[in-house]
């Protein structure tokens, strides 16, 4: 059973340009977009991170000193080793595509669909990449920072029923 620092060191050996940081006892690594699937599958198969706790994304449009637009976040945990590791992948327009991790963890299916729905990041090889929370005909990705909180009028775009016609 390897410790978290050994895992991070091994990752740095295997993959180029992996950076790591620590904050409040949580270890985070940033991997390159092209190596993201390999790094995650290595973590799952060789270091026992068998549970994908969460997949989410942050839009750094207005974030101070941010150089990248999107940060995709995978929170991994090992049920046996009881380790937790956050893997981040930085993405920039126009190439908002990463390989899907559904072949590794089935649980990623809906989480990736949610990220696609909310941020418009495509997951290549996803079995069923449709919108999940919003209607199919919705045009925007609402959790992006350039989308207003109150929307663009979609919420009131419906016919009105009166007493007489109902």
């Amino acid at each position: 059973m390897s410790t978290l620092s050994e895992v991070v060191a091994a990752l740095k050996d295997r993959f180029a340009e992996v950076t790591d940081s620590e904050f409040r006892g949580q270890t985070r690594v940033v991997v390159q977009q092209s190596q993201c699937f390999d790094a995650l599958s290595c973590l799952k198969n060789e270091y026992g991170f068998d549970m994908l706790v969460d997949v989410t994304c942050v839009d750094y449009l207005n974030f101070r000193d941010a150089t990248d637009r999107f940060g995709l976040v995978y929170v991994l945990a090992g049920t046996e080793s009881n380790l937790q590791l956050t893997v981040r992948v930085m993405l920039n327009e126009p190439d908002l595509t990463v390989p899907s991790v559904v072949p590794l963890w089935e649980g990623a299916n809906w989480m990736e669909r949610e990220v696609w729905d909310m941020f418009g990041i495509r997951f290549e090889g996803h079995p069923d990449l449709r919108r999940i929370l919003l209607p199919e005909e919705f045009a925007a990705h609402p959790l992006r920072k350039d989308y207003p909180l109150q929307g663009r009028g979609e919420r009131h775009n419906f016919p009105v029923l009166t007493r007489a016609e109902a």
Binding site: F138, R152, G153, R155, H156, N157, P159, V160, L161, A166
Partner: protein, 191 residues
């Protein structure tokens, strides 16, 4: 049968009889979407016991109900469903908008929440609170019963008064935040 009674005498009596029957046998259709639905369940459960007021027969089929209780926020994906269920209910029918979210959108002034169901379907009674306590819902049902008794007619004329339509129109013409640009294509009729 050429006997012509003065119209107002007979009709008013039948009206009040019909209203009395209607008010004491309200069958609610719980359109429970969110937190208020739990309070709606609590209202029906043992401690608060809605059965004391003759409105406990919860039926989930809109065809059997005459009171729709919209409990919880209604979002844009749900609204066509709400309208369809409202249309499926038979006249006479009433609607209680339970809680801040159903009445005004509540704290959820966001891109997907409809800011008050009265923009899209007629509402008879609003219950404030987030969520309202069961006592408040019971009070709303009692008030609705009084309202049915006071202004109900056997043909449902009270639903078509000019003043009522005016009121509804005023609500309809509230400005829509976000301006005239519509991103989504307009939906076809809810049928």
């Amino acid at each position: 049968m050429a006997i012509e009674l003065p119209e107002n005498v007979v009709v008013s009596k039948l009206d009040s009889l019909a209203s009395w029957c209607r008010k004491n046998s309200l069958w609610p259709m719980p359109f429970a979407t969110a937190c208020c639905g739990i309070e709606l369940m609590a209202t029906g459960a043992s401690r608060h016991d809605l059965a004391r007021f003759g409105a406990e027969v919860f039926r989930f089929s809109p065809r059997q109900c005459d009171l729709m209780i919209v409990a919880g926020r209604v979002v844009m994906k749900m609204l066509p469903v709400l309208q369809r269920i409202w249309q499926q209910m038979h006249e006479p029918k009433w609607c209680i908008s339970m809680g801040a979210c159903a009445s005004t959108g509540g704290v959820f002034d966001t891109y997907s929440v409809v800011q008050g169901i009265d923009r899209f379907i007629p509402v008879d009674m609003y219950v404030p609170g987030c969520p309202p306590r069961p006592e408040q819902l019971i009070q709303a049902i009692i008030d609705l019963q009084d309202k049915i008794q006071a202004e109900g007619t056997i043909e449902g004329r009270e639903f078509n008064t000019f003043a009522r339509q005016q009121r509804k129109r005023a609500l309809m013409e509230l400005p829509i935040i976000g301006g005239p640009q519509i991103i989504m294509p307009p939906r076809q009729g809810v049928n």
